[in-house]
Symmetry: C2
Subunit: 352 residues, 2 copies
């Protein structure tokens, strides 16, 4: 017979004493904190530095330069098509390190939990973080948990801070961007932001739209190794492409010229943007980057990006100019030119 | 005449456009985020790595070992006698690094702000962090700001993650604690926790009680250099002395024996503890440590601690034994012996 003879074993029951929900005592530093550590965090983030249970993790580094990046994650809802807050918390920080040319190594993870949070929710998030850390090849080496009263938080906020090591010759950054550089985008814009928005609005888009949340460490590594002339990379999270380009134009004192028809945007995302009056250039992504490379390196960079699943739809979307320092412009599909200004307000709060 | 001829210059007006309060757009990654960075964070945390405004800070390290520690701070109220959330956020992480024997070097700072927070409050906290970082000799090198809707947070939550470097020979940790070690406490217990509690209850204690919030990096450095035989240090934050000792007893598989009359507690703290039914051994401190040193090093360690203002009231409060591994006991002032168990619930939430 095809039906199983016995019920499948229960998913590991939560052995947190009598608690099914977070109470204030889980942030006390006492017995309940120790149980939380033993029953939720340690099994997921299985790591010797964490297991030592000192208040700091001690780790080897080579001489040279390290990169440090921090991000807090407050995304709402916690779970969405294509990911959840735990994956964002790992990939977000990993990506900030990777686009700087660093090899991500270690993460800290700090949780602010709202009293009453079901442990099943916490466990799902923590397990997702652990899987994301394995995929991104980083270790979660130290952590912290605080609990706030009901109504003083919103389920789970996570901070991750990442440490990466920089290979000796790597020197990337907005300040190195130069007129003539090709601007390469690793894939279509806006999937993450529009996924979150439609989830919140309870809308059904076409079935396959999901967050692009992904680690970019392999893509960045391949670019840094394969394109020695590369000047800068940046991931396109809050504020989207426009904020990243405007910031980099300001820092490098160059201008940026985009070609609208070269910028990939999925039909479903474009449709939702029209419906909500949003511009995909301003919508957040969680697995996209732009790279600035001298024109003679552009084709090589494109080939490297396209050979990786995360960069399969990469395109050259414009170039850097000395003509209008600090300003980003776009040649529209209608043949006109417009200024792509920085996001003025907040079109989508709590996107990450 | 003694009155000033002209009004004193205004405290630097906040140039954040038309805003006097945080709005959701300040977490957008767009123009408002950039203004927040330019007008509040950059002037306070004046640092070249931060000024580069890349999404990661790149910093030199020597070969060897680094220590990483993270903590989120949710203390309520934000300001209290002897400190505020900004100072705690710096000293808390600095102390976690320092007690591991590391020299604290770099901090990240990530803020979760509640919509509607007055900028004057944020600025006071950020300025306090900057001053605390100078005192603790660390640089705030990278950061992040998120904004959540009114009612989804509580004014300000801060995460700091710290990086320290470990001198080559330093090897400290709970696992190194040995029977015979003297247990040295750097000063009286409970000042921070009782200060927070009385503030929340709107009580007036005697005028001089205030938080003991202080950086311990100098004290730790002096101990590590002056007492080569030292085995471990730990700061006494959430869960107080009892949690620290119980954790260390469990890790080192030793017992701890305390002598109650040797444990310093201020009269005002003792009085408040009696009133609220608290035990000072379980109350949080933010500028106290315990050190474990072999008996032949105890006097030297005591002398080093007492020669620094932060450790002036240091005392030997007990010793490590092989008699009851994993258990902490105390010889009371009445001559009886009692078990000092781990904090079971949470006597004082949101203490740090």
């Amino acid at each position: 017979m095809s039906a199983p003879q016995t019920a499948p074993p229960l998913a590991c029951p939560l052995p947190l004493g009598a608690h099914e929900h977070v109470v204030l005592g889980h942030g006390s530093g006492g017995r309940l904190s120790a149980e939380l550590m033993r029953d939720i965090f340690m099994p997921a983030f299985n790591c010797p530095a964490l297991a030592a249970q000192d208040d700091q993790a001690i780790l080897p580094v080579e001489a040279g330069r390290i990169a440090i990046s921090t991000d807090s994650f407050v995304v709402k809802p916690l779970f969405f098509p294509g990911g959840n807050i735990g994956e964002l918390a790992v990939y977000g920080t990993v990506n900030d390190l990777a686009v700087g040319g660093a090899i991500p190594k270690y993460l800290s993870a700090a949780f602010i939990l709202e009293e009453g949070l079901p442990f099943s929710t916490l466990k799902a998030v923590v397990d997702a973080m652990a899987a994301a850390a394995r995929r991104a090849n980083v270790e979660i080496v130290t952590g912290d948990t605080k609990v706030v009263e009901r109504g003083s938080g919103d389920q789970i906020f996570i901070n991750t801070t990442g440490i990466g090591v920089l290979p000796h010759r790597v020197q990337l950054g907005a300040a190195r961007v130069e007129p003539g550089d090709a601007i390469i985008l690793s894939g279509p814009l806006g999937d993450h932001g529009i996924t979150i928005l439609t989830q919140r609005e309870g809308m059904e888009l076409d079935g396959d739209l999901k967050s692009d949340a992904a680690p970019l460490h392999e893509l960045c590594r391949a670019l840094v190794e394969g394109v020695p002339g590369i000047h800068a990379m940046r991931d396109l999270t809050r504020g989207g492409l426009s904020s990243a380009l405007n910031e980099m134009a300001a820092t490098s004192k160059t201008g940026m010229e985009l070609i609208e028809r070269e910028i990939p945007v999925r039909d479903s995302v474009r449709g939702a943007c029209e419906l909500f009056g949003l511009d995909p250039l301003y919508v957040a992504n969680e697995g996209k980057l732009i790279a600035f490379v001298p024109p003679e390196w552009a084709e090589a960079a494109l080939e490297i990006l396209r050979s990786h699943p995360v960069g399969a739809e990469a395109r050259i979307i414009g170039s850097v100019t000395s003509a209008h320092p600090g300003r980003v412009t776009m040649r529209t599909s209608l043949g006109t030119e417009r200024i792509v200004d920085m996001l003025a307000g907040d079109q989508l709060p709590r996107i990450c």
